[in-house]
């Protein structure tokens, strides 16, 4: 079977991520002890930040899909909701997990309940867990779709809030290192590896969304065909 676009993106993304991590481990410059408690753990940055970026893409897809279903009753948008929730779950967990490991090493604690950004991101991930598990416990139908698309819409309010939080509340979580407009906000080599990571995660998550939408489309079509065949038998 000839690979589709989604599969190519998945493969490209996976290879890119593997390369990023190798570079992060072997090539990216170390940070000084003055700036970080745990310079080794700082290398998690090349995983943590791109996966957070990918999670934002996934939650964006979730929001778009939820809105599209709620207001337009679009089947394609429902598939996007499903794909977004699954991608958000995976990338959200990656971000939270890597953040906890880095936090434990750097701050001495894996979590900080007073940090708004950490907690809103954690809530988004929890929302994704809820949507995926909840949807799998129910038969597909308008009631299921309306209920979970509703959650997807409300949950997305957290996304811009999370992004802004680092600019407004500089608590424990570091502020943004890119896109601040400051000169020399990040070392050139580090930026290169980070950029490669972001690109790779973007490819992976887009590939996942496309493939997941295809899976949902196939499942829906199988359901329709089975109904037709059931009537034939009767």
């Amino acid at each position: 079977m000839k690979p589709r676009l989604g599969e190519w993106l998945l493969l490209t993304g996976f290879l890119g991520i593997t390369s990023t991590l190798l570079l992060a481990f072997l090539w990216a410059p170390s940070v000084s002890l003055d700036a970080f408690e745990s310079p080794a753990a700082q290398r998690l940055f090349y995983w943590h930040v791109p996966s957070a970026w990918a999670a934002f893409i996934a939650f964006g897809a979730l929001f778009l899909g939820s809105a599209g279903w709620m207001f337009k009753r679009s089947e394609r948008m429902w598939r996007l909701h499903v794909a977004g929730s699954e991608a958000g779950l995976a990338t959200g967990l990656m971000t939270v997990w890597s953040g906890c490991v880095w936090g434990a090493a750097e701050w001495g604690t894996p979590w900080d309940w007073s940090d708004v950004r950490l907690n809103t991101f954690g809530l988004l991930t929890l929302l994704a867990v809820y949507l995926v598990l909840g949807r799998n416990s129910q038969p597909d139908g308008i009631e299921t779709r309306d209920t979970f698309a509703g959650f997807g819409l409300y949950g997305f309010v957290l996304v811009p809030f999370t992004y802004i939080a680092t600019r407004i509340w500089a608590i424990r979580h570091p502020g943004p290192v890119v896109g601040t407009g400051d000169e020399g906000s990040i070392n050139g080599d580090m930026g290169l590896v980070l950029f490669l990571g972001a690109l790779s995660f973007t490819a992976l998550i887009m590939g996942h969304i496309l493939t997941s939408m295809r899976i949902t489309k196939c499942e829906q079509r199988i359901f329709q065909v089975q109904q037709v065949l059931d009537k034939e038998v009767l």
Binding site: M1, M94, L204, T211, R214, I215, C218
Partner: protein, 51 residues
Amino acid sequence: MDGMTYLAVGYFGMVVGIGLWTYTVVIRSRRLSERLDSIEAALPSEDAKEH
């Protein structure tokens, strides 16, 4: 184990994890496509044409 070793193990685990996740998604997509093709072949021709 020192910090870098932990990091190496962690990275390796993550790569394996993402690899497994990607693999299961691709395999599921392909199996569903094959299943769909085979049951669509069982459809009467008018219903197959509709879609």
